[in-house]
Amino acid sequence: MRYWDEHIECMERSTLQEIQFKRLVETVKRVYTSVPYYRKKMQERGIIPEDIKSLDDLKKLPFTTKQDLRDNYPYGLFAVPLSEIVRIHASSGTTGKPTVVGYTKHDIGIWSEVMARTLVAAGADKHSFVQIAYGYGLFTGGLGVHYGAERIGASVIPISSGNTRRQIQLMVDFGTTVLACTPSYALYLAETMEEMEIDKSQLKLKSGVFGAEPWSENMRKEIESKLNIKAYDIYGLSEIIGPGVSFECEYQCGMHINEDHFLPEIINPETGEVLGEGEYGELVFTTITKEGLPLIRYRTRDITALHYDRCKCGRTLVRMEKVIGRTDDMIIIRGVNVFPSQIESVLLEMGEVEPHYQLIVDRINNLDVLEVLVEVSERMFSDEVKKLEQLEKKITKAIEETLGISVKVRLVEPKTIERSEGKAKRVIDKRKI
């Protein structure tokens, strides 16, 4: 089984666009009539639903932000009577009020469907044993994958997160073939397996779907070799639906967006202008089938790029690159957008498992200057000056090639980069503008 829904996943773009347009129009009508907040916002812009005459008119619509969800806490943006809502999920709300999302029965059906596509693309079928080690509860991870796995008829092991040793024992005993959890938990499971002296050959594990946090290609390689599986990246956010917004196929070349349900755009986070294919910017989604909480042009704050060329897997669904950063930690240096994660991936490629680095931005003689401090670990250290200087040059060159701007790399002693709450402060902006 290669596709869950070949008809949609491999559809000609022109046909897909017709479907998208029809659904977009319906959604705009729905929010205009049933969500006072959207009606007011559209009226302020002088737009009525009839103004949406093509997909291109999407850009006339206002953006929705996380703050809008908070301002309308808890049910202000729901588009159906609360009696139709069959499920509530919420984000943790560490920085203020939680973000509440609601689903109708139909919405849960869509969610199951997109997660079914996700799991099938990762090699699952009705013969699979899917161990779901995402948390169950208000967090969308556990139940989202659960419904998808049920939809394809797999055997679900709803173990939720934690209880690591037991997870591993059950994985062996029950013959788990597909693991679903966060990538960092997958690595933790692998480490604990080593401690328990359980070899990966004792597992029937074939693949894993990992999401809910950013992870690097290096981490993928580590998970794949330690668990002897193929590791698939999945993407989602509760505001849009939860896991299942986009998924990787066996070619692992970006995540296919389920764009018959979620219409993606990439915008310039500063100006809001829509960007073209392959350009990096903020990912924005308009849900075009959701009933409970439809969102118009929801700004994810995730930075990525879209690619529309047909994938080797045969799917025509657009692919989004791995998220390279958040708009919150973007810095602009001489007009170029720079994300700490870009520097991090360069350092990871140099063979550093967990590089500690810091970016110092300053303005000297009206010119932005970026200095990259890199803590010298034992692995990088050499007793020869020339080798350290070569390392410094190698890092400089790699970063300059990635960012397209010149930087100054300085090697510093370990622990010199200030940690706050265990995390390093990645950017220090000294510019006085």
């Binding site: 010298v376 034992e378 007793d383 020869e384 350290l388 090697l411 002693e413 370990p414 010199t416």
Partner: protein
């Protein structure tokens, strides 16, 4: 035949060298030779001490990036041309020298030199063949 040298990564800021020697002193570790190679941004401190394993451990514990490297300690005649003779032996065998530094001399008629070379095993052979005095580690640590 090798002597264990401790190398420490140091940023060029004041007080770092004093900190290293302070830590070693508190652990009763004696320094018999020392050199610093530096650039504008950083330096590498190279040390020969009486307890290299302990030095490695305590410096690591104090958050320094440290490594241990095998080097060769030789004694050369303390007169003009003494060192040149040794270098020529290595040069003829095409053995490159990564770096070298002299000891805080203690033997009366001999100068002690630390060498880090590319092909260490071969270097030892050649030096022996040419009757260059190679100091055993225990002797060096005790200096």
């Amino acid at each position: 035949m090798f002597v264990k040298q401790i190398s420490v990564f140091l940023e060029n800021k004041s007080g770092r060298l004093a900190e290293v020697t302070g830590i070693l002193g508190r652990h009763d570790i004696d320094i018999s030779a020392l050199s610093i190679a530096d650039t504008t941004d950083f330096g590498i401190l190279r040390l020969i001490v009486n307890k290299p394993d302990l030095a490695l451990q305590v410096l690591k514990e104090n958050g320094f990036t440290v490594s241990a490297t095998d080097v060769i300690a030789i004694a050369v005649e303390d007169k003009p041309g003494g060192l040149a003779k040794v270098l020529e032996i290595l040069y003829k065998k095409d053995i490159g020298i990564e770096y070298m530094y002299a000891f805080v001399g203690k033997l009366s008629d001999q100068a002690l030199v630390i060498l880090k070379v590319e092909k260490a095993d071969e270097a030892i052979e050649v030096l022996k063949e040419n009757n260059v005095k190679i100091l055993p580690a225990e002797e060096v640590y005790a200096l």
